[in-house]
């Protein structure tokens, strides 16, 4: 009985903390994006609300909350309302298996720094990521708007196309690590000094990064929101908080993908040089140092997201499909075959 209460209390606290953390990072990711994009285009970015514009995300959130909700005449109301909720729900669920730091002891029990430690971790992740399409398809279809429909179709076709090579890149990682559990994968990367998987799996890393960009509908794969053609894509008819949920889902997915890149390819929460120069897991403050490394690596990948948005032009739709199916998919299969050959010989 006490065990049951313990588990429930622990997961409740972790869930609330994780959701709070994800929303805070959503807010400040929008701020960072506008600030960095501004600097890259010789502008200041937001600098009016609070010092350095740091209160801008709060002001934006408040504005979106107080906006009028326009629900167009011909929408299918229930689906129209459920779709953004599905999007945000899926985005929040995906983060559950990411370990953000080493385990720690509290109240006589070892606690893990992830919401759940399931042994089918990556399979769960792939399943949840696939569900992300539903929010977009349902929202775009129920809006009864041509821009929405086309934008939704485009992004769903794009997401399922790139999901294939993303999934195959994941399998190559699983083959190397021999486990589906994210914690096992972090451990496998840090067994022998530096054997992080972006060194052993450079092509898999690239495939996963590209697939991640496409999954989150970010530049250069942001065809769903090609403003010149489609206004705002699948969320054209959404306003205020409902739009904000889609917006939040996109940014939280970015955070999740970065966290996954960190976990699967960049050695997770273990710092550079661990095992060679020192052993971080036994150091005092190991947990804090671990979380710091995790956040640092994730932030670095998030910066890459913004950097690429400022650098690369958007692809054309036929180029996007051609690239996904005729380049990425064969390369992903080949990568898997080579990795499997290597693993089966050792």
């Amino acid at each position: 009985m006490r065990d049951a209460i313990d588990i429930i209390a622990e997961s409740l606290i972790k869930s609330v903390v994780a959701i709070g953390f994800l929303f805070a990072s959503f807010g400040y990711l929008t701020y960072a994006e506008r600030k960095i994009l501004g600097r890259m285009q010789s502008r200041y970015g937001p600098n009016r609300v609070g010092p350095f514009g740091l209160l801008q995300p709060l002001a934006d959130g408040l504005k979106l909350l107080l906006k009028e909700q326009v629900t167009p005449r011909e929408v299918k109301t229930f689906v129209y309302l459920a779709a953004p909720a599905i999007s945000i729900f899926v985005a929040l669920m995906a983060f559950a298996i990411v370990p953000v730091g080493p385990p720690f002891f509290l109240f006589g029990k070892e606690r893990i720094m992830a919401i759940a430690n399931v042994n089918i971790g990556l399979l769960y992740l792939v399943a949840i990521l696939s569900l992300g399409v539903y929010g977009i398809v349902l929202g775009s279809w129920s809006s009864a708007n041509r821009y929405s429909l086309l934008g939704g179709l485009r992004s769903s076709a794009q997401m399922i196309s790139y999901e294939l090579s993303l999934g195959l890149a994941l399998i190559a990682v699983v083959v190397l690590a021999g486990t589906l559990s994210p914690m096992g994968i972090v451990a496998a990367q840090n067994q022998t000094g530096m054997s992080w998987f972006f060194l052993l799996q450079p092509i898999g890393f690239l495939l996963f990064a590209i697939g991640g960009f496409a999954e989150t509908n970010r530049a250069p794969f942001d065809l769903a929101e090609a403003e010149q053609e489609l206004v705002a894509g699948y969320h054209t008819e959404y306003a205020g908080m409902r739009f904000a949920l889609y917006f939040a889902a996109e940014y939280i997915n970015m955070v999740t993908i970065s966290a996954l890149v960190t976990t699967l390819f960049l050695g997770g929460w273990v710092g550079i040089g661990n095992g060679i120069f020192f052993n971080i897991t036994s150091a005092p403050w190991a947990q804090l140092i671990g979380v710091f490394w995790f956040l640092f690596k994730s932030a670095a990948f998030l910066f890459l997201y913004i950097w690429i948005r400022a650098t690369l032009p958007r692809l054309r739709y036929d180029q996007l499909m051609w690239f996904g199916w005729k380049i990425l998919l064969p390369v992903a299969v080949l990568n898997l075959v080579v990795t499997a050959l290597y693993v089966s010989l050792i």
Partner: protein, 118 residues
């Protein structure tokens, strides 16, 4: 082992409640002053001529079907990928046969032009 999934269930409840309350709150806060024009579908300022629900290109269906095929293939890789260390080279050969069969299908799809987008 089933215990490991309890946190996921609780997260699902918290996240679901959070998502639902965010949608429901939109009915409470904010003004509501609908007009006829405001409630019409957005058409970049033009008047609506044809009804917005129309058929869309068959291409998207084809992509979706191909995705199903290849995704099921990817799923059947998962159990194999964990066991590969104990299957050794024989496991690799078996997987190679599987990939070869898939490759035939992929080449067929490619040559049929299902992957071309015009």
């Amino acid at each position: 082992m089933i215990q490991a999934y309890v946190p996921l269930l609780i997260l699902a409840l918290v996240a679901g409640g959070f998502a639902a309350s965010n949608i429901l709150i939109t009915f409470v806060v904010g003004p509501y002053r609908p007009t006829r024009e405001k409630l019409s579908p957005y058409e970049s300022g033009m008047t609506e001529i044809v009804p917005p629900r129309q058929r869309f290109p068959i291409k998207f269906y084809v992509i979706a079907m191909l995705f199903l095929l290849f995704d099921i293939e990817a799923v059947s890789f998962y159990p194999w990928s964990i066991l590969l260390r104990s299957l050794h080279f024989a496991g690799f050969i078996e997987m190679l046969i599987f990939v070869a069969i898939l490759l035939v299908g992929f080449i067929y799809v490619w040559k049929k032009g299902a992957l071309d987008w015009e």
